[in-house]
């Protein structure tokens, strides 16, 4: 089973009322160092079998047509998360 992650963020020029609300709450909890918060969405799409380039392409299309609204949002990431995790392990191993 493969898994594709799609991440969507409000466009930079669009005010993000949810992020603003979170930013307002953080200092009250002692997290004064965070000057701004923007809140986006993360989708995890599962497929049977491997995440092929075709699967990624289909996920990118779904991201552009359904999962995001291009008037107010940008798709910032469409990726095979298992492959990403493997890549992270490899790089950590290399560093060690």
């Amino acid at each position: 089973m493969g898994r594709v992650v799609v991440e969507v963020m409000p466009k930079p020029e669009i005010l993000d009322p949810q992020g603003k609300a979170v930013a307002g709450a953080l200092p009250r909890l002692g997290f004064g160092q965070f000057t701004s918060v923007r809140q986006g969405k993360r989708f995890e799409l599962e497929v049977e079998g491997d995440v092929t380039p075709e699967v990624l392409e289909a996920a990118a299309q779904a991201a552009a047509t359904v999962l995001s609204n291009p008037v107010i949002e940008d798709v910032v990431r469409v990726a095979d998360i298992e492959a990403d995790a493997a890549a992270t392990v490899t790089s950590t191993g290399t560093l060690a």
């Binding site: 009322p17 603003k20 359904v66 609204n69 008037v71 107010i72």
Partner: protein, 230 residues
């Protein structure tokens, strides 16, 4: 004159919209989200509410309901379509109207009697008003802040497609105080405030005639009947 009123899962104001059609002199026809047939109606209302729980984005899932395919086709062919609140959000998601709605700038649910200016009386839904007429109808929403890029806003203004503008106070931070817009042809109109809640004396907003006697919203529904006859 048959005016279809669509019910999606989570629609709240379909019954009020149907009653508004009836009070205006039309015959309301219930249309179901899962039925890809408009049953020969002469106009369609997409009422307010929280279709599909507003999951994903307001109106985003309703746009793909079976009934929307014939609504989009017919709208492109000139059928009068009115989107109220969530219905307006659905029309933007379906690309029948430009822009989008995000959460209110106030970060709160807003519920008030709202004064508007009617700026375009050449649409299928506003020809019974006079240019610049001030009307008061209820406004109630969480995601009511109309946004679009500057180019789109200039185009809407230039083509006279801003149909309703918030008068005085901008309740949700909408760009240029826009409360409602139309497509180029003027048959598709969307607005955030609720005309269907101001159609019957005794149940509307306060007005010069007395408490709860405002019926300014009724003119949208009589306008479309006039459009269909004319």
């Amino acid at each position: 004159m048959r005016v279809g009123v669509v019910t999606f899962p989570g629609t709240l104001d379909d019954r009020d919209a149907a009653r508004a059609v009836r009070l205006a002199g039309g015959e309301p026809v219930a249309l179901w989200h899962a039925d890809a047939d408009l049953h020969d109606v002469d106009a369609v209302v997409l009422p307010g509410g929280f279709s599909y729980g507003d999951y994903l984005r307001a109106g985003a899932i309703a746009r793909f309901a079976p009934v929307m395919a014939p609504v989009v086709d017919a709208a492109k062919g000139g059928l009068p379509v009115l989107g109220i609140c969530n219905g307006f959000q659905i029309l933007t998601e379906a690309h029948l109207l430009p822009g989008s709605m995000i959460k209110n700038e106030t970060r709160t649910f807003v519920c008030r009697e709202q004064e508007l200016t009617v700026e375009n009386v050449d649409t299928a839904w506003t020809r019974g008003f006079t240019p610049g007429q001030r009307i008061t109808i209820p406004l109630k929403n969480q995601d009511g802040q109309f946004v679009a890029d500057e180019h789109t806003l200039d185009e809407l203004e230039g083509e006279g497609r801003v149909v309703f503008r918030y008068e005085g106070h901008d309740p949700n931070g909408s760009r240029r105080r826009i409360a409602g817009i139309s497509n180029e042809a003027g048959n598709v109109v969307g607005l955030m405030p609720h005309p269907e809640h101001a159609v019957e004396a005794g149940y509307g907003p306060d007005s010069a005639q007395g408490p709860r006697r405002g019926t300014d919203g009724l003119t949208l529904f009589t306008s479309v009947l006039q459009t269909m006859v004319g």
